[in-house]
Symmetry: C2
Subunit: 114 residues, 2 copies
């Protein structure tokens, strides 16, 4: 059973946000679009996220069917996360957000607010 | 000065989410796409949102340049909120989220989780 919150709204937009709308969710999807990544790579690419929040978000995205993972055997013995096909279908959403955001203010200097 | 959080990430996606990514933000934009609305209409259309959160979100969206408002004089004496041109430019994001969300699970029965 899903552990994430729901808007309780049957519209497609609300149901999408139930799956990927929590803080950092769409940025994790953005960073997996180029290809599979390990947890440490994702963590390094999102300076403001804590390991706990990244773990929770990945767990929700896996539960939601947006991300999948593989545990690579020897010699690496690491877990690699990747988008599912449905996850990759978010590309147009991210493309339009990227365009729209060009007119948004640049972030304030200093560390991101959690 | 903006009161909302920032990811501290200069990408267009992160900057978009700094402006409209907080919980309920994109649903308020969705409900203003058809045209201007009063606070009470917005509140009625988002069953899970509290008046305080809606007020905060509207304040942030106005501050962010996504929403504007007019105070109508007599006889109505009400405040009407509407999307700015930049706000309306979010339409493709919402359209793609709506499509993507058709494959997302329907919300659980019962009241939405706050």
């Amino acid at each position: 059973m899903s552990t994430s919150r729901s808007y309780g709204d049957p519209s497609g937009i609300a149901r999408s946000l139930d799956v990927v709308g929590e803080r950092w969710g769409l940025l994790v999807v953005r960073d997996l679009l180029p290809g599979p990544k390990q947890f440490s790579d994702l963590l390094a690419g999102l300076p403001g996220i804590s390991p706990n929040v990244l773990s929770k978000r990945l767990r929700e995205l896996v539960e939601g069917g947006v991300v999948d993972y593989q545990d690579l055997g020897a010699p690496d013995r690491v877990r690699v996360y990747e988008l599912t096909e449905w996850g990759r279908d978010l590309e147009p959403v991210l493309r339009h957000l990227e365009q729209w955001g060009q007119r948004a203010p640049l972030p304030p200097a200093g560390p991101p607010s959690r």
